[in-house]
C-alpha cells in the first residue's frame, strides 16, 4: 500500500505523471459535477422540494437497492448533464470576437486546474520521510503562487464579457473584475496574520501550506484568529463569485452575466471553473484556518501508517464537502448585495478590518517579544 501510494504520488516516471494528470482531471470533473448535484439537491431541500430524482441508467437501474438509491439521490444526474453539454450544438454567435470568445473558457479553467495541482490535502510517510499528498511534489512554493495563479481566473471572466460583444456580459465582466480585484487585497492582508503565527523567526518554510497545517496541531487558526478567518471567508465568497457576491453573473439583472452568450460545452467549462474555484477557496480556508487534514483541534491524526494518512485525507475531504454545502446554504439564505454595497464592504469594511487586525497582531508579537 505504501509503495503504491509512493509511486502514484512521487514517481517522476512519465506514466505516473500522466496518471496524476488524468486523476486530477477526473477528480475535478467529478467534484464539479457532484457539486452541481449538491447545489440542486440542497437548494431543493431548502425550498421544500425533492430535487433531481428521476435520472437513471438502464444498466444500473435494475439493481434492487443500489439502483433505487442512486436514482432517488440523483447520482446519475451529473453524467446526464455533462452528456447534454457535450452533445449540444456548440453554437458560435456571429457577433462575438471569435478567437477571444473561444479562448475565454480555457483562460477561466486553466488557472483553477493549475492551482488544484499544487494543493496539498494530506500527508504520508515513506521511509521515514514525510510527503504531502498532492499531485505535484517539490512544488512547495507556498500560498503566494496559489493566490497569484488563482486570481488569474478573473481574466477568463473579463475576456468572456468583452469578447461576447454584448452589453450584459460586458457589465457582468466589469463588475466581476472590479469585485475580484477589490477583495484580493483584504484576502491577502487577512492571510498575513496566519503567516505571522506560523513562521516563527528562523523557520524556513513560512509560506508553505504544509507548515501552516503543522502549526495547527493544537488550536486551529479559526480559534486563534477569528477575525482573519471571517475576513478570509467573506473574501473567498467574493473571489469565487458565489452568492451574496454574485456580481459577474447577476442572473436577475444581467441575464446570465459574463457567460450570457455561451452555450454547450464552453458554458460547461465556465461551470467547472466556478466549482473548481469553490474547491480551491474552501481548501485554502481549510488548510489555513480549519486545521487541514487534522481531524479535530488538539486531536491531530497520529501515527505514520497509511491508515492515519487515509484518515487525514478523509477528514480533509469531509471538511471540503461541508464547505461546498456551506456555499449552497449561504446562497439560498442571503440575497445578492448591490454593486455599491459590494464595493463598500470590500473597501470600507473588510480592508480596514484586515489592516487593523494585522496591526493588532504586529503589536501583539512585538510586545510579547
Amino acid at each position: 500500500m505504501e509503495n503504491i501510494l509512493h509511486d502514484l504520488l512521487l514517481s517522476p516516471a512519465w506514466h505516473f505523471t500522466a496518471a496524476r494528470g488524468v486523476t486530477l482531471i477526473l477528480i475535478v470533473m467529478t467534484i464539479a459535477g457532484y457539486s452541481v448535484l449538491l447545489e440542486r439537491k440542497a437548494s431543493a431541500w431548502i425550498q421544500g422540494r425533492i430535487g433531481p430524482n428521476r435520472t437513471m441508467h438502464p444498466l444500473i437501474g435494475w439493481i434492487p437497492f443500489l439502483g433505487t438509491f442512486l436514482q432517488k439521490g440523483g447520482f446519475i444526474q451529473p453524467a446526464a448533464d455533462g452528456g447534454k453539454f457535450l452533445f449540444k450544438e456548440d453554437a458560435l454567435p456571429g457577433h462575438v470576437r471569435k478567437a477571444y470568445y473561444v479562448l475565454a473558457p480555457i483562460v477561466a479553467l486553466a488557472p483553477a486546474l493549475a492551482v488544484l495541482v499544487m494543493l496539498p490535502f494530506g500527508e504520508f510517510f515513506h521511509e521515514g520521510k514525510r510527503y504531502a499528498v498532492s499531485l505535484t511534489q517539490g512544488a512547495d512554493v507556498g500560498v503566494l503562487l496559489m493566490f497569484a495563479v488563482s486570481s488569474l481566473g478573473v481574466y477568463g471572466i473579463a475576456l468572456a464579457g468583452w469578447s461576447a460583444n454584448s452589453k450584459f456580459p460586458f457589465l457582468g465582466a466589469v463588475r466581476g473584475a472590479a469585485q475580484l480585484i477589490s477583495y484580493e487585497l483584504a484576502m491577502g492582508l487577512s492571510v498575513l496574520t496566519v503567516f505571522l503565527a506560523t513562521s516563527a523567526p528562523g523557520v524556513d518554510q513560512g509560506l508553505s501550506l504544509v507548515a501552516m497545517v503543522d502549526a495547527q496541531k493544537g488550536a486551529w487558526n479559526l480559534l486563534t484568529q477569528p477575525v482573519a478567518a471571517l475576513v478570509f471567508l467573506i473574501c473567498v465568497f467574493a473571489e469565487t463569485n458565489r452568492h451574496p457576491f454574485d456580481m459577474p453573473e447577476s442572473e436577475t439583472d444581467l441575464v446570465g452575466g459574463f457567460h450570457t452568450e455561451y452555450g454547450a460545452f464552453k458554458f460547461g467549462i465556465f461551470f467547472v471553473a466556478e466549482y473548481s474555484h469553490m474547491v480551491i477557496g474552501s481548501s485554502l480556508f481549510i488548510l489555513m484556518f480549519l486545521g487541514g487534514w487534522h481531524v479535530l483541534p488538539w486531536l491531530p491524526t497520529v501515527g505514520e501508517g497509511w491508515v492515519a494518512s487515509l484518515l487525514g485525507v478523509a477528514s480533509f475531504f469531509l471538511k471540503l464537502c461541508f464547505f461546498l454545502f456551506f456555499f449552497v446554504w449561504v446562497r439560498w439564505t442571503i440575497p445578492r448585495f448591490r454593486y455599491d454595497q459590494v464595493m463598500r464592504i470590500g473597501w470600507r469594511v473588510l480592508l480596514p478590518v484586515a489592516v487593523l487586525n494585522l496591526l493588532a497582531y504586529f503589536a501583539w508579537y512585538a510586545f510579547r517579544g
Binding site: 431543493a44 431541500w45 431548502i46 425550498q47 421544500g48 446554504w329 449561504v330 469594511v349
Partner: protein, 181 residues
Amino acid sequence: MAIKVVERRPLTLAERTYLPQILAGLKVTWDNMVRPPVTLQYPDERPAIPQNYRGVPTLVMDPNGREKCVSCQLCEFVCPPKAIRITPGEMSEDSANAHVEKAPKEFEINMLRCIYCGLCQEVCPEEAIWLQSQYSMTGLSREAMVNNKAKLYELGGTLPDNHHKWDKKKEEAERQAGGHH
C-alpha cells in the same frame, strides 16, 4: 388628522455587520431544509380531490344500471361553449328499460370546448350529468378529445341513490299498459 412620526432607529453596529442577521437566516434555511419536502411527485402521486371538485363532465347510471339521462337537451342548450351535442332517441319495446323515459342515442361532450363551468350539472333535472373528480384529460387527436356516450358512462359510473325513480316509472307504465289490455 394627527401626524404620527415613526421613529426610525439607526442600525446598531451588530446590525450593520449583517452577521447576526446572516446567522439567523442560516438557521431559517436550515430549519426549512430538515423539514420534509412538500413536493407531490405528480404522475406517481395524485392530489386528493375534494368532493365538490368540478372535473370532467360525465354521465351517471342509477343503481339498477339504467342511464339517468332522458335526453331533454337542457344541458345542450345551456352549455355556454356549445360543447355538448345530444342525439335524442326512443327506447325500443324489447329493451329492459322500456316504458321508462327516453334516452339519448348519442351523447357527445367535446372536451376541447368544455370550460368546466358546471352549468350542465346545475341545469340537469334528472341529476344525470355530473362534473366529477377527473382533472386530467389528454388525447392525441381532436377526435380523441370528444367523449362519446360510452366513454361518458365509463367515466361516470353509478350514482348511489335510493330513489329508484325508474323502477316506479316502469311499474306504473306497465300497470297502465296492462290495464288497457
